[in-house]
């Protein structure tokens, strides 16, 4: 009987030690530098986000600087505002609206793409294909076989005809969100 009571006490002591250690481990974060560490970690995260934003902005600014010096028309697409802008150097030639008709807009990545294909279908349907990443077409254009899931935006028929004939393969489009 006595042995059993003592054995139980041993177990109680072991459990107490375990809990005490766990408590000590938990107290580990509460050192004197804890508050500063928290602030620094938060600051580090904020700065990293800001640097990413600044890098993206810089990429777009560099793109614009390049296009100002180029003799080629280019397009800027704002996928969240659903607008597009045809530009030549620093001048706006045309503003237009876009609408996602198929594919996933989430597949679009911010940055520059190149017009790789101008497709003119048998029934007069026309497509502009950028780097297997984006398709522009006129409203109600018949569907053509293009890679599944590729985001496809439509413009009004008039706007699309203007854009289609304004740019040639090699022309750039820049996607912003």
């Amino acid at each position: 009987m006595e042995r059993r009571v003592q054995g139980d006490n041993t177990k109680k002591i072991i459990w107490l030690i375990i809990w005490f250690s766990v408590f000590l481990m938990g107290a580990d974060g509460g050192d004197l530098n804890g508050e500063e560490r928290g602030k620094l970690l938060k600051q580090q995260k904020q700065l990293s986000t800001r640097i990413e934003t600044l890098k993206r902005e810089q990429e777009f600014l560099v793109f614009q600087r390049t296009m100002y010096a180029s003799d080629s028309k280019y397009i800027i697409i704002n996928s969240s505002a659903k607008t597009g802008r045809l530009k030549y150097k620093n001048r706006v030639l045309k503003d237009f609206h876009i609408k996602l008709v198929s594919g996933r807009a989430s597949r679009l990545t911010r940055g520059a793409l190149t017009l790789t294909q101008k497709i003119e279908g048998a029934k007069g349907s026309k497509l502009l294909v950028f780097n297997k990443s984006l398709v522009l077409q006129g409203k109600n254009a018949p569907s053509a076989k293009i890679e599944a899931g590729m985001p496809r935006f439509s413009l009004s028929k008039k706007d699309f005809r203007s854009v289609y004939y304004a740019i040639e393969p090699g022309a750039k489009v820049y996607i912003i969100f």
């Binding site: 481990m25 560490r37 620094l40 700065l47 990293s48 810089q58 028309k73 706006v92 008039k158 005809r161």
Partner: protein, 254 residues
């Protein structure tokens, strides 16, 4: 399962007698075996009490210290990282400011004209503002061929052009294709028949190589491709554009 094995199972599940259970569990019940092993059940009771407590104290404090050493980043490194990021952000900010200024200098707030030959629209823009939108007539995209072999294709000139001059009450000097088009004999170069007033409207804006922005008698055709390459405008729009542009104003036709 014989009777002995059944008893072992029951005891392991806590239904056997304690003393026998202990004996059996050390050999066949894994969970109980681990507890017996950790509590050093094989040792005499006194030795167990005096040995187990210090042993686990040392072990768990060691673990606590080990926890300390696995801290993700020392605070000094964190401070220097943040400082470095601040520097990087400041540098990028400065570079972007420079680029923005450069783009602003490269840009301007000058007035310019844009002619869309697909939709037959003219826009007069200043900076990002559209000052005027108007229907225009542009090149008919048709061929005219002469018996002698000469041919003409009537398309508006594409690209970046510049206003080279402006005229009031312009006179149209009929070119050869105009006679070919109407199956008429082509008169000599300075024949008075070639000089036709009142067909180009009140104003003309010269773009070079004989191309102009001017008025038209065929106002119902504005918004279509019907000209011989010039850009035709309605009277009111023409007057506004004429008064707004000056020599050097850029005209983008696409």
């Amino acid at each position: 399962m014989d009777e002995g094995q059944l008893m072992k199972k029951m005891r392991c599940e806590g239904r056997g007698t304690r003393d026998k259970g202990r004996e059996i569990a050390t050999t066949s019940c894994p969970s109980r075996s681990i507890i017996r092993y950790l509590s050093m059940a094989a040792l005499p009771l006194r030795l167990r009490v005096s040995a187990v407590v210090p042993f686990y104290m040392v072990l768990l404090f060691s673990l606590s210290w080990a926890g300390d050493t696995s801290q993700p980043v020392p605070i000094e490194k964190l401070r220097s990282d943040v400082q470095s990021l601040q520097g990087q952000a400041a540098q990028l900010d400065e570079e972007n400011k420079g680029l923005r200024n450069m783009l602003r200098d490269m840009g301007d707030d000058e007035l310019y004209l844009v002619v869309d030959t697909e939709s037959n629209r003219l826009e007069m823009r200043q900076g990002k503002t559209i000052v005027l939108t108007a229907k225009v007539g542009t090149g008919s995209r048709q061929f005219v061929k002469e018996d002698r072999g000469r041919s003409w294709y009537f398309e508006s000139p594409m690209g970046s052009l510049t206003v080279l001059g402006r005229e009031r009450n312009p006179v149209w000097i009929r070119p050869d294709w105009s006679y070919v088009e109407e199956n008429m004999p082509i008169p000599p170069r300075n024949d008075p028949d070639r000089f036709v007033p009142d067909v180009l409207g009140k104003f003309a804006i010269l773009l070079g190589n004989g191309y102009k922005i001017h008025g038209t008698k065929w106002k119902n055709l504005l918004g279509t491709h019907f000209t011989h390459g010039c850009v035709s405008l309605g009277d009111d729009d023409l007057e506004i554009v004429y008064k707004s542009v000056k020599n050097g104003t850029k005209v983008y036709i696409y």
